[in-house]
Structure formats: structure tokens, C-alpha cells
Subunit: 249 residues, 2 copies
């Protein structure tokens, strides 16, 4: 049964402050909860409807944490989904380890991408292209924000991410840094294979002047209409697709 | 001065029912309002802050509709933006004309894309790539939804859109139809130049079986990770970028 304290605790995880204090975040919806159960994340508590339990009896048998059965209405009250007739999981955050590149073909770096939906979508794109190392500036949106988790559609379980001072790590790594600008080399005519770091900037300000100094190759997506720019998640996807071509010719 | 009736009318435009009844929608924020003023849309009413009026005195001189000065707080109360120290415009919808292809290199068609944010982002992508004819199935999100308008970042002023029975128009047009599927031809190895219709499907169901019959070439974005799919706006952008390569070699 869902106790008052559990309800209060899970609801507190909507706020960053309480996520940080407890080192926990929540994941909701059938697909994402199943994916987090199969991942290397540690799930403390699982709240599920009876119908979810019937559908996934096998996977639930081996779950060793706290397991609570609830109604759809209770689940919807706990989480942010308007409709959730499946499950919600309380999950332990991973420690923010230091990261040393080890021959990755492409690392994705984000300079202050602030919108949680954009960050989540970018993580899903990275997972699609097999890019599993992501480096974020400290002001980038919080990975464990429920809107980030939701937009990744389960991909948050398959990437490794690191919040770092990007100037420092770029200086230490000495890798080529491809930066997305509006006045760089046409990505369609760039010669490959290209490996290193792909750096994307903030939604309104782009890449900061300090980080621009570390960019070894500016790249641009050719456009032919009148839109001034592309959304950062869209631009990330198009650039990843082009790097994919260059790296797997 | 902002009358009670004007406030009530503008607030009613948050709902589709009242947008349809009045044939009006609203546009907010500095950039979008300036773009709609420069477009072929007809603006009935303009609500602006004094600072916006000072910044854009020249553009406002020629405006012949109703012009009301308001405070930032009043603007934020009228619209959906958390912060708006600029302007809001009440704009006339355009009639939904019939559309006959006339040598466009690429027409973008959407089969039941339901999320307003996705639709708006797709319109912005189309505008970036110079695709200005968009055909939507009747169940696609409403073009004039405030979230659609917001996500287009002004691009809604530069595209022509048509809500049509897609089966019927595809049969009538007899153009090649490229459909986005997970099991189509690799878009990286497709031979060009490719002209015709690019068809994107619903967020969860993809392209409907009936429309699949009209697809002459299934195309797929090659992925190398474990994500099952891409967001529809992301997939549209990647495909448009690839068609762009094929059509402007």
C-alpha cells in the first residue's frame, strides 16, 4: 500500500532541490520503467498497477526493492504524466564520475542547453547514432529532470554523461572540436572521417565566446529558406547524421 | 486602453473552439509579432508595451488596425508566455484553399502529427530548407494553436499549408511519395535527384496502413545505437537535410 510518507517523498522528487538531497529521481510510464529495470541503474521503489504486474510478471519476479501496487489515479497523482496506467520507479542517481576519452569516434558536448525537452531529445538522438558519451557544461539542464527523462524515451539508460568545465576538458583532451555555428563550413562538403567532439551551444546565445576559442572546426547546416536558425535538438540530429555518413562511409 | 471585452476575447483564443468561431488567432513575443506584421497575414489588433513601441516606432507607423498600449503584466496575462515585455497580435486566419502542385521540388505531408510542439518545429525545419508547401491530414494538430505558432519561431508566416484527405490528393497528384519507415531504403544511399512528397507519420503509430499503400519509396534513417525510433520532428529534419543533398548536389 502507498503510505503518506512515500507519496510525499515521490512528490518531492519533482523538485531539483529534493532530488539532489536524496540522490533519487523518478521514471514513469511502461516503456521507460521497463528499460530502467533492465539497465544498470538501481531502482529503490516500484509503484505499479495490477495490469502492469500481469503484463510483466516475469520481469518483476527478480526485482528486489520495495514494490507497491497502486491505482492508475494514484500513479497519475504521483508523477507528471496525464495518463499512466503502468508504473513509476524511484531510482538512484549515478555519481558524476570524471571522464577520459578512450577512442570514441564522436563525443557530444553541450554548452548550456537549458531546456529539459531539448536535452532529452538530444540524448535520444545520441542513442540513435550510437554516441554514448555526453559532456555537459554545469549550466546545462539537469539530466534527472522528469521532463528530460520523459523526452529521452528510455535512452537515458544507455548513455554516460558528465558535467564538466568544458574549457578545461577540451584543453586537456586535445581532440578536434567541431562547433555548430551559422558561419562555419558546410557540413555537406566537410571531408571525413571526422572524429572528436561535436559541440552544440545554448538555445539563444549559441556557443560562448570562451568555448569558441577551443573550436577547431566550425560547421554549418546549409539552409535554403528564410528561417534564421534551427532548434538545437534538430541541429544536433542533422549534424550527427552527417558525421555518421563521414565516419561510416 | 485594454477593455474588459478585448481581454475576454483574446483569452478566448487560447481555445480552438473560439479560434474557429472567430477566425482569429494570436501571436506573441517581439520576433513573431514583427514577422507577422511584415507578412501577408492581416493583423486586427496589436497590444504592445511602451518599450516595444519605442524600439519599433517605424514599423508601427504604417499599422492601420486597432493599437492598444499595455503593461508587461497585462501582456503576460493575455498570452501564454511567462515573460513578454513586447507585444501580442490578434491575426486573421487564412482560408484553407485547395492546392495543386506546380513543380515544387519537395512537398512535406504529415499524417496525424498530433503534438503542437512537433508541428511547430517541423514548420520551422521546412522553412529552413525552403520547403513552403505543407499538406496535413485533417487529424494533424491545428496550425493556429498558440504552441504551434510559438515553436515555429516566426516561420508560420512563410509557409503555405493545406488540410486535405491525403489519400485523395496523393491519388490525384501522381507524384512520387517518399514515406518515413523503420524498414525502408537507407536515405544515405538513395539516388537523387528526388522530388515529390515526403510523408511523415503519427508520433506513435507512424504512417497509417491506408496511406502506406500510396508510398512509392520507403526511406529510413540509419541508426547505430539502441534507440527504437526518433521524434517525428527530428526525423523530418534529418530527411529534409538528406533530400537537400540529393536535390542540390
Amino acid at each position: 500500500m502507498l503510505s503518506k510518507n512515500t507519496v510525499k517523498f515521490i512528490k518531492s522528487l519533482h523538485q531539483k532541490k529534493y532530488r539532489s538531497e536524496s540522490g533519487r529521481f523518478f521514471v514513469e510510464g511502461e516503456k521507460s520503467v521497463l528499460e530502467v529495470l533492465q539497465s544498470d541503474f538501481l531502482v529503490d521503489t516500484l509503484v505499479t498497477t495490477e495490469s502492469f504486474e500481469e503484463r510483466h510478471f516475469g520481469q518483476l519476479k527478480s526485482f528486489g526493492g520495495q514494490h507497491i501496487t497502486a491505482t492508475q489515479k494514484q500513479l497519475e497523482d504521483l508523477g507528471q504524466y496525464q495518463s499512466n496506467d503502468a508504473a513509476l520507479a524511484v531510482v538512484q542517481m549515478k555519481p558524476n564520475l570524471a571522464f577520459e576519452p578512450a577512442g570514441e569516434s564522436l563525443i557530444l558536448a553541450l554548452d548550456d542547453v537549458r531546456d529539459p525537452g531539448n536535452l532529452g531529445t538530444i540524448i535520444r538522438v545520441a542513442d540513435w547514432y550510437g554516441i554514448d558519451k555526453l559532456v555537459f557544461s554545469p549550466q546545462t539542464a539537469e539530466f534527472y529532470n522528469p521532463k528530460v527523462i520523459q523526452s529521452t524515451m528510455g535512452s537515458f539508460t544507455r548513455v554516460k554523461f558528465f558535467y564538466e568545465d568544458l574549457e578545461k576538458v577540451f584543453a586537456a583532451w586535445q581532440l578536434p572540436v567541431y562547433g555548430a555555428f551559422l558561419d562555419g563550413e558546410n557540413i555537406h562538403t566537410l571531408q571525413g572521417p571526422a572524429a572528436g567532439v561535436l559541440l552544440m551551444g545554448n538555445e539563444s546565445k549559441g556557443i560562448s565566446p570562451a568555448l569558441e576559442q577551443k573550436v577547431t572546426q566550425k560547421v554549418t547546416i546549409p539552409g535554403f529558406g528564410k528561417a534564421e536558425s534551427l532548434n538545437v535538438a534538430i541541429a544536433t540530429a542533422i549534424l550527427c547524421d552527417n558525421f555518421n555518413r563521414l565516419m561510416r562511409p
